[in-house]
C-alpha cells in the first residue's frame, strides 16, 4: 500500500465502522449511552487527528522535494488540541464517559496499525525472509 490517500480512506472507513458500532450499542443498551457516546466522540476526534496528520505529511513531502524552508512546524500541538477538544466536549459539555472517550481516541491509530500490519504481511507474501531466499 504505497498510496497515502488510499490508506487514509481505509482508516476512515474502519473508524466509521467503529462509529456505527457505537450507534448500535447506544440503541441496544441505552443504559450505557454515556460509554458509547464518549467512544463515538473520541473516534471522531481521532479521525480528525488522522486527517490532519495526513495533510501535514503531504506538505512535508512537498517541502522535501521543493527544498523551500517550511514556515510552520510539524503540528503536534494542533493534534493534541484536537484530542483535548474532543475530551472536553465529551466530558464537560455532553457529560459522557472519559475512559470511553480515551478509548475512542485510539480508534484511528488502531486501524492504522492493523492496516500497516496487513500491508506488510501481504507484501512479504506471508513468508519469512529466509524462505524468500534473501541474502543476509
Amino acid at each position: 500500500m504505497d498510496d497515502l490517500p488510499a490508506l487514509l480512506r481505509k482508516v476512515s472507513r474502519i473508524t466509521f465502522f467503529f462509529l456505527s458500532l457505537g450507534c448500535v450499542g447506544w440503541i441496544v443498551w441505552p443504559a450505557y449511552k454515556t460509554v458509547f457516546g464518549g467512544f463515538m466522540i473520541g473516534a471522531i476526534g481521532s479521525l480528525a487527528i488522522a486527517w490532519h496528520l495526513a495533510w501535514k505529511l503531504v506538505r512535508i513531502g512537498n517541502v522535501a522535494i521543493s527544498g523551500v524552508k517550511p514556515r510552520s512546524g510539524f503540528g503536534f500541538l494542533s493534534r493534541a488540541a484536537l484530542a483535548l477538544l474532543a475530551a472536553f466536549v465529551s466530558v464537560r459539555m455532553l457529560e459522557f464517559n472519559l475512559p470511553a472517550t480515551v478509548a475512542g481516541l485510539i480508534a484511528a491509530p488502531l486501524a492504522t496499525l492493523l492496516l500497516g500490519l496487513m500491508s506488510r504481511r501481504r507484501r512479504s507474501g506471508g513468508h519469512s525472509t529466509d524462505e524468500r531466499g534473501e541474502k543476509h
Binding site: 498510496d3 487527528i49 513531502g61 503536534f76 493534541a80 484530542a83 475530551a87 491509530p109 500497516g116
Partner: protein, 73 residues
C-alpha cells in the same frame, strides 16, 4: 492534594511528549531524507511515516487527556 495532581500531570505529559518528540523526530528526519534522495518513492515513504507517526502519537495524546484529568483533581 492539588500539588500531587499537578506533579502527576507534569510527569505524565512530560514523559509522553519526550518519547513522542524523539520518535517523531527520527521518523520525519528519515522520511524527508528518503524523499530527498528518491522522490519517486514519496508515496511509499509517506505511507510508512503515516503509520509510524500515528502509532507514536497515540500515547502522548492519551497522556495529555490524562494529564488534564489529574490537574482537575
Amino acid at each position: 492534594m492539588a500539588i500531587y495532581g499537578l506533579l502527576a500531570a507534569a510527569i505524565v505529559f512530560g514523559l509522553g511528549a519526550l518519547g513522542a518528540g524523539i520518535g517523531n523526530g527520527l521518523i520525519f528526519s528519515k522520511t524527508v531524507e528518503g524523499i530527498s534522495r528518491q522522490p519517486e518513492l514519496r508515496g511509499a515513504l509517506q505511507t510508512t511515516a503515516f503509520i509510524g507517526v500515528g502509532l507514536v502519537e497515540a500515547l502522548p495524546i492519551i497522556s495529555l487527556v490524562l494529564a488534564f484529568i489529574f490537574m482537575a483533581q
